[in-house]
Structure formats: structure tokens, C-alpha cells
């Protein structure tokens, strides 16, 4: 359960990214954050990841008040979360296998388990057999699949995606969304996006943001500002 309670985020130069935002996301829920650029979508994801701390208000994840300055479980928190970026953030000098296995490598998981989980994750995203391929040999859609595989491996309970289809053509975007659909109900999925078609078609919960404020919270909504 993710709870934002009257969260405000001001940056040091004074620009207001979020203004008194409150919402709750239950476990295994599928949520879209929509809104124009600068609405505060990415800021919310970064607050969940504890890359940022709120200026005011509190953020609680599974009972942990992560907005507290004394919170010292950031590493454990981040191991519950998988993050997907618009620009993929795939390491070019590592193979697909090495990129995907990063999540598990840092928890000293046995290699046999890593191998099994990577194979399963790659199969789920449709990249089975491409373990030894380097990122330069992959298309943008495939790179995003690698990023998704990296984000879901290791039983991560929360999946955050920041404009996951932002750099992809419509067809590939739909293929990526199909992967998210496959994961629905198995973990909490939070997607920040501009993609009107996808949001309207999937009919999931939509939280609409504008200039840092929460405008609407629709249980089965479409893209509307």
C-alpha cells in the first residue's frame, strides 16, 4: 500500500513540483499518472523511490514512513521496487543477461537462481534466446523489454514506469503495454505517461496531475485534463 498524505515538493530554487497531493494505491493495483510535462508525474515516482524527500507531508509504503529523514531502509525499499525509464538506461557494455541480472547480482543470489529468473523474465518479455546479445544489437522496443525484465526480476512488488513508451512507435508501445497487462494483479504497477491511446484503451485507474496538483482520480478513467 502506497499512501501520499498532503505531500508538497518544492525544489531549492523555489519551483513547486507537487502541491498538497494525497492519494492511496493498494497492493497489485494498476495506476496511470497522466498530465502535461511539468505536472509532477516523475516527481511522484522519484518520491516513491526515495530519490527525493517531500518538503511537506508524508509518504508511507507498506507501513514504512519513507518520507522521514530518519528512515534508514532505503536499500531494502528500493529492492521492492522495479523502475523503468523512458530512455531505458541499459548498460551498453553488458549483455542482455548481465543487464537483467543486475538486480539479483547485488543481493548475492546464487548464479543458478539468477540464470533461472533471468530466463523466465526474458521469456515473459519475449526476448528468450537473446541473453548473450549486446544492447547495440537491439531495437528500441527490445531495449525497453530488457528494462522491464530488469525491473520485474527478483520478486519486486512495485513497478514504476516513467514514460515507458515515450521513445517507441505506436505498435511497439502496444507490445510493451501487453507485457504490463501480463503483470497486472501480480504486483503494483504505476505508469507515468502521455500516451492518450493507451490510457484510454486500458481503462485503469487514472490520476490526473496539472502544475503539481491532483486534478482527478478516476477509478476507470481515460486521459482527460
Amino acid at each position: 500500500m502506497i499512501i501520499f498524505e498532503k505531500v508538497t515538493k518544492k525544489f531549492p530554487l523555489g519551483n513547486l513540483a507537487l502541491d498538497n497531493i494525497s492519494f492511496e494505491i493498494t497492493n497489485n493495483e494498476f495506476v496511470f499518472f497522466v498530465g502535461p510535462s511539468g505536472a509532477g508525474k516523475t516527481t511522484i515516482l522519484k518520491l516513491i523511490l526515495r530519490e527525493y524527500l517531500p518538503t511537506e507531508g508524508s509518504i508511507t509504503i507498506d507501513g514504512w514512513e519513507i518520507s522521514s529523514k530518519n528512515f534508514n531502509q532505503t536499500v531494502t525499499l528500493r529492492r521492492k521496487i522495479g523502475m523503468i525509464f523512458q530512455d531505458f538506461k541499459i548498460l551498453n557494455d553488458k549483455t542482455v543477461f548481465e543487464n537483467v541480472s543486475l538486480s539479483l547480482m547485488l543481493t548475492n543470489t546464487a548464479f543458478s537462481k539468477i540464470k533461472k529468473e533471468v530466463e523466465e523474465a526474458l521469456k515473459l518479455v519475449g526476448l528468450d534466446g537473446k541473453e548473450k546479445v549486446f544492447p547495440q544489437q537491439l531495437s528500441a522496443g527490445e531495449l525497453q523489454r530488457v528494462a522491464i525484465a530488469r525491473a520485474i526480476i527478483g520478486e519486486r512488488e512495485i513497478l514504476l514506469a516513467d514514460e515507458p513508451t515515450g521513445n517507441l512507435d505506436p505498435k511497439t508501445s502496444w507490445e510493451i503495454m501487453k507485457i504490463f497487462k501480463k503483470l497486472e494483479g501480480k504486483r503494483t504497477i504505476i505508469i507515468a505517461t502521455h500516451n492518450t491511446d493507451i490510457v484510454n484503451s486500458l481503462q485503469k485507474r487514472v490520476i490526473v496531475l496539472k502544475e503539481g496538483r491532483l486534478i482527478k482520480d478516476l477509478k476507470k478513467g481515460g486521459y482527460e485534463i
Binding site: 536499500v75 531494502t76 525499499l77 528500493r78 529492492r79 521496487i81 523502475m83 538506461k89 548498460l91 543481493t107
Partner: protein
């Protein structure tokens, strides 16, 4: 190991500069360590020798020598005294030159002077004892080792102070170069570090590859410095052996053990290698910690 070598090969110029600076520092450290140990060994040796040796003329009667000995003994300034008669001196001479029959034939007990070896209670009494002996009848020569000990102590002190300053400078230089090199590598791996942090990597996990690389460089540089030292040593060995002929075994007095420093032996060389390896690794780890702490903000 494969990943360390791969990472080092990806930044060949930075790796080479870091390696050369470390190598230079460790090679000089090794030379300083061995020189200091050698001089300390000589000091220990000299301190165990009689502090004043008085040689008498060959015709000086033993009664006169014993009178001087008794006067010194009752002065309260002498710790111990040893009388070496002409016969004893000849036996020592025979022992020292047992492999040279020609020298043995040429010398008899008559021409060797009797002597007294005197150990003072305090170094401050030495000039007084020496002056007293010089005034006694039948005295041929007074050998007074305080000057030698003082000069050696001064030399060791200069070496210790000068070496320390020089070493601190080298340490600083190596640390700065290694820190800069590590920072460059951190910049190259910025994306990877960012991703690892977001995936929940601990600080030590992020630091680990940088530390392993630095330790590898430190060990490689110390090993090469040691090999170079061995090559130079074996090249100069004939010269050193003949120049230092007659120099007895020298020891470094450690708290629990007497380490033989001359002639060079396996144990002393192993200790020297471990010494520079330790410093190499220490410098490398220190530099990595500085770089990662300040700029990674992990």
C-alpha cells in the same frame, strides 16, 4: 579478476599513470625501508660492542693493567670490564684468520696488544673514562665508540625525518593521482552507478569494484617494485659482498623477534615485500574511499 582486467583495459592511460605513480612510491618506500633496517641493524650491532676499548703497549705489565681495571671498577661508572690478554688476543686472531695460514704464520702472541673492553653505565661517562685512560702509563690507544654511535644515530634520525617527509609527499602524490583516476572511472560508470543505486545496491556493493581494482593495482605495483629491487640487488651483489666483507650478521630488534637484516635472507625479503604490498594496498584503498565518498555520495 576478468572484470578487473577488463575495467583496467578500458582506461589504459589512467591505469598506466596510477600504476607508475604507485610503482615509483612503493619502490622508493622499499629502498627506504631496507636502508633504514640496515642502518638500524648496524646501530644495534655497535651498541652491543664495547663502548671503550683501551689497547696497552705490549710491554705493559699485567699488574699495571689490573690496577687500571680495579680503579675503573671502583669508580661506579663502569657496568662491566673484560680483560683480553695477549694470549686471548692471539686466540681471537687465530679464529678470525683460520682460513689464511700465511697470516697465522706471520703473527705471534707477543706482538698483539693486551686490551680492556669497557661498558659504561651511562653514555655520559664515556668521555670521562676515555680521558682517564689516555692519561694512564702504558696505554697505547683508546678507541672510543661514542662518536660512531652518535653519528649513526644522527644519520638514522636524519633518514627517519627526511624519509618520513619524503614518504608523506609520495603518499600524498600517489593518493591524489589515484583519487583522480578513480574519479574519472566513476564518471565513466555514472549511468551504471545510478542504475545500481536505484535497484537498491548498498554503498559497499558500488564501491567494491573500484576497491578491487585499486587493490589489484597496489599489489601489481608492489610486486613489480620488489622484482626490480631483486634484479638490482642481484646485479650489485658481487660488489656489495666484497664491500661489506667482514660485516657481521645484523639484526633488527623487534618487540618479540630479532629479524636478521644482513646478509639479506628470505625472511627479511618476505617482510620487505609484505611491507610494500601493505602500503600499496593501503594507498589504493584510501584513494578509492576518498573518491567514492566525496563524489559518489553513496
Amino acid at each position: 579478476m576478468k572484470e578487473i582486467i577488463l575495467s583496467l583495459r578500458r582506461t589504459p592511460y589512467q591505469t598506466t599513470s596510477a600504476f607508475l605513480v604507485l610503482f615509483f612510491t612503493l619502490f622508493l618506500s622499499l629502498i627506504l625501508f631496507i636502508t633504514f633496517s640496515f642502518l638500524q641493524g648496524i646501530l644495534v650491532y655497535i651498541e652491543t660492542r664495547p663502548q671503550v676499548t683501551v689497547y696497552f703497549q705490549t710491554k705493559t705489565p699485567e699488574s699495571e693493567i689490573f690496577r687500571i681495571r680495579d680503579t675503573l671498577s671502583s669508580s661506579g661508572k663502569v657496568l662491566s670490564l673484560k680483560y683480553i690478554s695477549q694470549k686471548d688476543a692471539f686466540q681471537i686472531y687465530q679464529q678470525l684468520n683460520k682460513d689464511n695460514p700465511l697470516l697465522l704464520e706471520m703473527v705471534s702472541a707477543d706482538i698483539l696488544p693486551p686490551s680492556l673492553e669497557i661498558y659504561a653505565k651511562k653514555a655520559a661517562f664515556l668521555p670521562e673514562i676515555a680521558e682517564f685512560l689516555k692519561k694512564q702509563p702504558g696505554v697505547d690507544e683508546v678507541q672510543f665508540q661514542k662518536d660512531i654511535v652518535d653519528r649513526l644515530l644522527t644519520l638514522i634520525n636524519i633518514l627517519r625525518k627526511g624519509g618520513s617527509i619524503f614518504y608523506v609527499f609520495l603518499l600524498l602524490m600517489s593518493t591524489i593521482v589515484l583519487t583522480t583516476t578513480t574519479l574519472f572511472k566513476i564518471a565513466l560508470k555514472k549511468d551504471e552507478i545510478e542504475i545500481l543505486k536505484l535497484l537498491g545496491a548498498t554503498n559497499s556493493y558500488i564501491r567494491k569494484p573500484f576497491i578491487l581494482e585499486a587493490v589489484f593495482l597496489g599489489l601489481a605495483a608492489s610486486t613489480l617494485a620488489f622484482i626490480l629491487f631483486l634484479v638490482i640487488f642481484f646485479y650489485l651483489k658481487p660488489f656489495l659482498t666484497s664491500y661489506l666483507l667482514g660485516l657481521p650478521k645484523l639484526f633488527l630488534n623487534l618487540e618479540v623477534y630479532q629479524l636478521q637484516v644482513w646478509p639479506f635472507n628470505f625472511l627479511f625479503l618476505t617482510v620487505s615485500y609484505l611491507f610494500i604490498s601493505f602500503f600499496g594496498v593501503l594507498i589504493a584503498i584510501l584513494a578509492t574511499f576518498l573518491a567514492t565518498s566525496k563524489y559518489l555520495k553513496v
